[in-house]
């Protein structure tokens, strides 16, 4: 399989391909358009453990790859609604009630009488409820996005490839992982070559 790789390191030259487990096969494309055609072909071929890597989000690639819409917005809505409820509860408890309850320590509310306004003056609580809605929704957006993406994950087998480093610059790469049930080193490489890539490379696990 010496034709497979252009990685200059000796261990990547393919001679040990029989005994070193493979992470994936990587195919590089010159333009987003070519990558998108390749992605459509890979999806139609029935692969499941594969991905495209691009320097920027390519418009239409989600559809070509058959990625289902993320449930992130629904969860963020839930987080925002929690923020509203927490905002109201916090202010109603601390400023409008004399309740004592346990929140890590024992705390007691203090009914503030301010310029003869009602104790539970909800309109005055709206700004803080709003800010907490945004705060919880925005922080959960970021943390859930990272969680679903499996990040941070500082090391990854793909980073072994010199070629892969250009993905964050200007190269477009399609990766089929060895764990895919349909994966077979020879056949998958042949298949990738039919998609007109610039190069195909093996990445060790």
């Amino acid at each position: 399989m010496s034709t497979l790789t252009t990685d200059p390191r000796p261990e990547a030259q393919g001679v040990r391909s029989g005994d070193v487990p493979l992470h994936a096969l990587l195919a590089e494309f010159a333009t987003p358009g070519e990558l998108m055609h390749a992605a459509e072909a890979v999806r139609k071929a029935g692969f499941r453990w594969w991905d495209c890597h691009t320097p920027f989000p390519v418009h239409g690639l989600d559809k070509a790859m058959g990625i289902k819409p993320t449930i992130l917005p629904i969860l963020v809505f839930g987080a925002g609604a929690t923020g509203t409820a927490v905002g109201f509860a916090l202010q109603a408890f601390t400023n409008s009630s004399a309740l004592t309850l346990w929140a890590i320590v024992w705390v007691t509310g203090y009914p503030f009488l301010i310029s003869g306004k009602p104790l539970l003056s909800t309109p005055a609580f709206v700004p803080v409820m709003f800010e907490l809605t945004i705060l919880l929704a925005a922080t959960s957006t970021v943390f859930l996005m990272l969680l679903f993406n499996g990040l941070p994950w500082l090391h990854h087998p793909l980073f072994r490839s010199e070629r892969f480093r250009r993905v964050t610059d200007d190269k477009f790469v399609l990766v089929i992982q060895a764990r895919d049930p349909k994966f077979s080193r020879g056949k998958t490489e042949q298949f990738l070559r039919t998609l007109n890539p610039v190069a195909v490379e093996a990445v060790e696990a």
């Binding site: 987003p32 700004p127 922080t139 957006t141 993406n149 610059d169």
Partner: protein
Amino acid sequence: MTTLRADQAFLPSGEPDNTVEVPGTRAPLVFNHDSFHAVTETVCKVPEAKSPPLIWTLGFLLALMCTGMLGFMVTYLIFTGVGVWGLNNPVSWAFDITNFVFWVGIGHAGTLISAILFLFRQKWRTGINRFAEAMTIFAVICAGLFPGIHIGRVWLAYWLFPIPNQMEMWPQFRSPLLWDVFAVSTYFTVSLLFWYVGMIPDLATLRDRATGRIQQFGYGLFALGWRGSNRHWHRYERAYLLLAALSTPLVLSVHSVVSFDFAVSQLPGWHSTIFPPYFVAGAIFSGFAMVVTLAVPARQLFGLKNIITIRHLDNMNKVILVTGCMVGYAYSVEFFVAWYSGAMYEKFAFVNRAFGQYWWAYWIMVSCNVITPQLFWFKAIRTSIPLMFILSIFVNVGMWFERFVIIVTSLANDFLPTSWDTFVPTWVDVGTMVGAFGLFFTLFLLFCRYLPMIAMAEVKAIMPQANPHAGPGPGPGTGPGPGTGPGIGHAAAHSHGEGAHP
């Protein structure tokens, strides 16, 4: 008719003019970058340079000295008490809150560019959003300093937050000042997240190009292992859209809440229903002026003229013109309402503002904020680099004085003439104000030197060859199209090459 073609026109300064609208085509937003790699090179060469430009070093030293002065002023204040400021009995807020409102306002342009222009699919935002957002963060840091130090007993600042304490006391949530605590801290957190999330792909670019161990580790750590996976991009884009959608009402709420600090009180000159929209317009006005003030030298110094083009600057000047008109309108409506209300104190407050002991501050404000932006009706001024830089500084000065006028003139002469007094700033007041600028520029210059100043991934996504339907390009990137002027990357009309899609 060469001037009708956007890609063939040039400004008197020699820069290509992409401000002209050519029917049926999109104006090019990036010049002289035929490939994605060229954009990476242009942006990355700043943080990758061995040593910064000399002007950067000199500016940084100056800013650092001012920051040191700020540290001294704040320490002196804490050890001595707020009496070191020129505050007196009626004027209990002066430079401190003026600086606070000024800096919060500066921040608003960054969020407007990053969130509101994103929702409106304004592609030109990609050239300027990164450093406008950085400006927001640093401005909010400066803003957050002032309420912290003006409270007198700084060591009791935790009373601002609902933390269980030995006195069993809670903050008073019906007060706009407490709403402000929540608004500004939420604003800072969300702006920081928005800025950082936008920067993750670009930090990954710097990580993958880094040669030194420190850079590899530093950029690698903060890039979180980003590898440009399209399954990741899918969630990332959705998250970015959500952040934009959340930041838009947030930014409007923050300055509205800041204005409530005044409007909810009963002081003539403050007690006004126009304040929330008036403050938001003023914030965007001053913030855009600060973006221009920073963008003009930055694009010159770091060779970014082909990415922050004259069209970007022209658009920003148009925003300054529009918001400047809104601010001018608000000034006149305030006077009209004071007269129409028939309230003696209200009428006096405004006549006093224009002709009382602070008349000079009022007229500096009017000339800088009402007259100056009107010059941007002329295209020659909107596209002249030196003129726009000078005018943007005038707007910055004017907007600082606007807050000073609102706060100090209203407090100095309120209901009872026997309790009137005049505020005169002390050297500590002035030193703290200058020091805050030092802190702002220190942080901003560090950002320029070590972080990607341009959102590379976003700029690449708006280039014509990013459109997957553009067809295979010959070799590295798509070459200039037919009829394109020499050396200018073409921007063919394409139907849907958005950086993100809903």
